[in-house]
């Protein structure tokens, strides 16, 4: 197997004052996958994400980019952040320009692109998030969901290989979530590797290829989403509950092992299964 695109190896992070946020944490991010970092509030997810683009430096251990230990000089960091795009949870922490279009152009211009190229990137990113009509809107008049999409577009315009999102669905209404996941799915199909943190097991179950369960600054288990989320012991230790969809499917199946490795992962699939069982 080829080396992971990005990896955290035995990371430890101690904040000034002695609080240990990460301890002996290892995580692999494989190219082209959707990885959910699943954990309760305060489990260290955000701290980890801030290591993934070099914002924080580990007090022990290292981050590896395609198997090369990450370096923290200015040039290396610039290159690193071009490849790994980080979207913060709170869009107001990221949007600074007067209009959406201007804000999105910030990253491309920092890459040293010409005006024409930067404009094309802005357009492309706004289209990907389906917010072209917002280009001229002043940032402070947007709704929370719109701000969130604008913040993601700003990172996307740099065409990162890996898009890291901190709690991308937090605070969004169901329509906003669907809209956002649709856009992210398209990016994923176009080849972007996605990493996102969440405490929503249902989201991780429905949407991720892979899940890393996080507790108290360490990864308890990383693996295929279905296998990890069926591991009650791990979820219990992480103070999480198994996804309802999976539990229902398992109850329906009642040990027959009818769906084996691929239980229903959407509401529709579960309903279909339910109808089938009721008729059968």
């Amino acid at each position: 197997m080829s080396a992971p695109l990005l990896a955290a190896c035995e990371l430890e992070h101690r904040y000034p004052g002695g609080v240990v946020a990460l301890r002996d944490l290892s995580l692999n991010i494989e190219r082209g996958r959707k990885l959910a970092i699943l954990g309760a509030n305060g489990s260290g997810k955000t701290t980890l994400l801030l290591h993934l683009n070099g914002t924080l430096r580990p007090t022990r251990g290292e981050i590896r980019l395609e198997n090369h230990p990450a370096r923290y000089d200015r040039r290396a960091l610039n290159d690193w952040r071009r490849r790994v795009g980080l979207v913060l949870q709170e869009p107001d922490d990221q949007l600074f320009a007067a209009t959406v279009g201007q804000d999105v152009s910030f990253g491309p211009l920092n890459l040293g692109l010409s005006k024409t190229d930067a404009e094309a990137r802005v357009r492309e990113a706004l289209e990907a998030l389906r917010i072209v009509p917002l280009a001229e809107r002043p940032t402070h008049t947007l709704s929370f969901g719109q701000k969130k999409r604008a913040a993601i577009a700003g990172v996307l315009a740099m065409r990162p290989e890996i898009l890291v999102l901190d709690e991308p669905t937090a605070g969004l209404d169901p329509h906003g979530v669907t809209h956002l996941l649709g856009a992210l799915q398209q990016l994923h199909e176009a080849g972007t590797t996605l990493v996102f943190s969440t405490h929503d097991v249902e989201l991780a179950y429905a949407w991720a290829d892979e899940v890393a369960v996080f507790h108290d600054g360490a990864v308890l288990r990383q693996g295929e989403a279905v296998a990890v989320l069926a591991d009650r012991e791990v979820l219990r230790r992480a103070r999480l509950r198994p996804p309802l969809l999976l539990e229902l499917a398992q109850a329906l199946d009642a040990g027959q092992g009818g769906f084996g490795e691929s239980p229903p992962r959407s509401r529709e699939a579960l309903l279909a299964l339910l109808r089938e069982r009721l008729q059968g």
Binding site: G85, D93, A97, Q102, D103, S105, L109, N110, E136, H140
Partner: protein, 250 residues
């Protein structure tokens, strides 16, 4: 402030090149300052009001509310210009006709000048000022500061409002002394949050390759020479009329 910002972004002249608004406004300001105020002032005031209301399509109530605050200051100050102190024979206070004229002229001139600036702020959003400021050589650091302050004003205004609502909900303003205490707590909290916000914004910007320069693409609006010419001609007309009328009257 919200209203000014709203109309700056949505008025009919929003998409015009900022120079088309800046140059006539500055020319008008200059006329207001050098020509006799009693005739020029009202003409300027009428000119800006008509352009703001009928040109840019901004409700006159909004314009009025923008002018109201500085006008209140002017009216409060004017009486003191009219009154003169006389120490030649002991001490006496009297109102001279000279003083009256001075007070009237100053008030009208100031109000007219303010209306020129109100025209600018109501029709031109901040995003359009940035390229212009850059063109005339304002230092990049200062422009970035303007940009960030503009953005964060809204973030903090929002927080202050929510904070105040939350305090009110817990009876933080139910008595004068409690109100004072609540305002103090809120201010302290906002200050702390401002520092945190700055730190997080830095992380967010660094993630997008920030290396000490906030560069963004600014829209290019075509400058319409005909429109600019017409506007400047209008300004000249106001100036001429103001000057001639002043000469005709004593």
């Amino acid at each position: 402030m919200r209203a000014i910002d709203h109309y700056a972004w949505t008025n009919r002249w929003r998409d015009r090149h900022p120079a088309e608004k800046l140059l006539p406004a500055l020319a008008l300001l200059l006329l207001t300052l050098i020509l006799p105020p009693l005739t020029t002032g009202p003409l300027v005031l009428a000119g800006t009001t008509l352009t703001v209301v009928y040109g840019a399509g901004i409700p006159w109530k909004t314009l009025l509310s923008v002018l109201a605050a500085p006008a209140a200051f002017l009216l409060a100050g004017a009486p003191f210009l009219a009154i003169s102190l006389d120490f030649s024979q002991g001490f006496s206070l009297h109102i001279s006709s000279e003083g009256m004229w001075l007070a009237l002229a100053t008030t009208i001139r100031a109000l007219a000048a303010i209306s020129c600036l109100a025209f600018l702020t109501l029709t031109t959003p901040l995003a359009d000022w940035i390229p212009l400021l850059r063109r005339v050589g304002v230092p990049a650091g200062l422009i970035e500061l303007i940009l960030l302050i503009y953005r964060l004003i809204f973030v903090f205004a929002e927080r202050a409002l929510t904070g105040r609502r939350a305090q009110t909900a817990r009876l933080g303003y139910s008595r004068f002394d409690r109100g004072v205490r609540s305002v103090g707590l809120l201010a302290g909290n906002l200050f702390q949050r401002a520092l945190e916000q700055a730190r997080r914004l830095e992380i967010g910007l660094a993630a997008r390759g920030y290396t000490g320069e906030l560069r963004v693409l600014t829209p290019e609006r075509p400058l319409s020479w005909p429109r600019l010419t017409v506007a400047l001609a209008g300004v000249m007309l106001i100036g001429l009329a103001g000057g001639l009328l002043a000469r005709g009257s004593p």
